[in-house]
């Protein structure tokens, strides 16, 4: 008998000796912080349950009718009758799930159709659909940039971009958020013959600010061997003549090699994708692990996505109304004295910056009690250690709802001392 086995009966599990150190010990500070916060009597901002969802802009939370202002459901497609009908039909005809990888038994006619819809929407020769937007970044970045290559990314990049870097073997270089100068300096210091992938986002989701893509593209094109990927998760549907994203609106389509996006925002369901005109793009299907080693999207999901994408091609009026809503809320909150993430309205995300966690949670809870749901965001997800209430507008918010929202912010802001 080994010593370990001989003493096994004396061993105590961590549950028996609470002070014992185990793999969860590193979370102790966070556990204590949360317990202290919840002990003040506030509701947990990260444990909301929507008991009923009535429309893209309305839900019932704990029996209370609540306006949704934190869903990224920009174009309100979740309840579009054509989209819902397409999902039901696919559910009936193709069943609940595929139970397989895209490269084995998991590609149905619907998966091919949604990729066709994406190629038409983006005007590209290639389109590849992943099971989530997170996996799209994870897969594309980790597969494209290999050992000895470089990924250059913005410091405020989404977690999926960082995780794509960590999954791969490339060297990772980051530059200060939206700084063309910082990007140019770093590119100049890298070996000219090394292959590079520069990853940018059209809209940065925490503050809702937009990237200066033409200036960045110009800086990148000073250097050889660079490919450019733009994540348009928050730009799709809303920016550009065809709703392709910020890169379309800013006129840099010819210079962008890859666009990554998601179905879980403007498209109104779940899934992720990458589109490109690269002639060898299709090979990624065989070498991209987050594409190969996971089950494909259910037939109902790809059917709703394809229908929604085709409708977004002709959603000019919705885009106009979403802009109107975003501008009105930005002005309303600015006039009330709130500090916002951007001085001018740049996207459908409006971030209210608060001083600390206590104020942010108090404000968040007061809004919820008034019947308004917004996202609370805290470090490390937020830039520069800020506490934010992040609002995202929907094209389906009525003018009256936006006025009601501004009124709720006034009441909550005064009640919590966030504004005077």
């Amino acid at each position: 008998m080994t010593d370990a086995a001989a003493t096994a009966n004396d061993a105590h599990t961590p549950a028996e000796t609470p002070a014992a150190r185990d793999l969860f010990s590193k979370f102790d500070a966070l556990i204590a912080e949360r317990e202290a916060l919840l002990a003040t009597g506030v509701r947990d901002p990260f444990a909301i349950v929507m008991d009923e969802v009535k429309s893209p802009t309305q839900a019932v939370i704990k029996g209370k009718d609540t306006i949704l202002l934190g869903t990224y459901n920009y174009m309100g497609m979740t309840f579009d009758p054509d989209v819902v009908a397409a999902g039901k039909k696919a559910l009936d005809e193709f069943g609940a799930g595929t139970t397989g990888s895209r490269v084995l038994n998991g590609t149905y006619q619907g998966h091919a159709e949604v990729e066709t819809a994406l190629r038409e929407f983006y005007g590209t020769s290639g389109a590849m659909v992943f099971s989530t937007g997170y996996q799209a970044n994870l897969g594309v970045i980790s597969t494209l940039a290999g050992k000895g290559d470089y990924v250059i990314l913005d410091a405020d990049s989404h977690a999926s971009i960082y995780d794509g870097c960590f999954l791969g073997d490339a060297e990772i270089v980051r530059f200060r958020h939206n700084s063309v100068e910082d990007l140019a300096k770093r590119l100049a210091r890298l070996p000219a013959d090394a292959l590079k992938l520069v990853v940018l986002e059209g809209v940065y989701s925490m503050l809702g600010d937009v990237a200066p893509l033409p200036e960045m593209v110009a800086a990148i094109r000073q250097h050889p061997n660079c490919m450019i990927l733009v994540d348009e998760a928050h730009g799709m549907g809303f920016f550009g003549e065809h709703g392709r994203g910020v890169y379309e609106e800013q006129g840099v389509e010819a210079d962008v090699d890859f666009v990554v996006g998601t179905f879980s925002k403007s498209v109104g369901t779940v899934g992720g994708f990458c589109v490109s005109n690269h002639p060898k793009f299709e090979i990624l299907r065989l070498v991209c692990r987050p594409y190969v080693f996971t089950a494909s999207l259910p037939p109902s999901v790809v059917a709703t996505a394809a229908t929604s994408i085709r409708k977004l091609m002709h959603a000019g009026e919705k885009r106009v109304h979403l802009w109107k809503n975003s501008k009105r809320l930005h002005k309303g909150l600015t006039d009330l004295g709130f500090t916002l993430g951007t001085k001018t309205p740049q996207s459908a995300i409006i971030a209210v910056i608060l001083t600390d966690q206590r104020q942010a949670v108090a404000m968040w809870q007061t809004l919820l009690e008034l019947g308004l749901y917004v996202n609370m965001a805290r470090p490390p997800a937020t830039p520069a250690g800020t506490f934010l209430l992040r609002c995202s507008l929907c094209a389906e918010h009525s003018d009256a709802q936006v006025e009601q929202i501004i009124g709720m912010f006034e009441t909550a802001g005064k009640a919590t001392g966030s504004i005077r």
Partner: protein, 92 residues
């Protein structure tokens, strides 16, 4: 067996210079006024969070005109290790 000939002396001076430059860059982020030695750790002694580290690394990169990739940053825990990394990157 290395001796203090001209070449070694140059490297020693470089190392001191690098330490001094790094100390200058640390100063604005050294809120607690921790005395800096080669053994000072960024996370433990200086109590820097990831955002502070990012700003500091950008400042070091610009000061020495180098790139410290995130892969390299993961290996650097002390001021001494940073001095070594900068010395290596400068000669590369």
């Amino acid at each position: 067996m290395p001796r203090f000939d001209g070449k070694i002396f140059t490297i020693m001076t470089d190392r001191t210079d690098i330490f001094d430059s790094i100390a200058t860059q640390v100063a604005p982020f050294n809120k607690k006024g921790v005395a800096l030695t080669e053994a000072t750790t960024f996370a433990g002694d200086l109590e820097w969070d990831s955002l502070t580290v990012m700003d500091f690394v950008a400042a070091i990169e610009d000061e020495f005109d180098i790139i410290i990739t995130m892969n390299m940053q993961a290996e650097i825990e002390t001021v001494g290790q940073l001095v070594d990394a900068v010395a290596k990157l400068k000669t590369a």
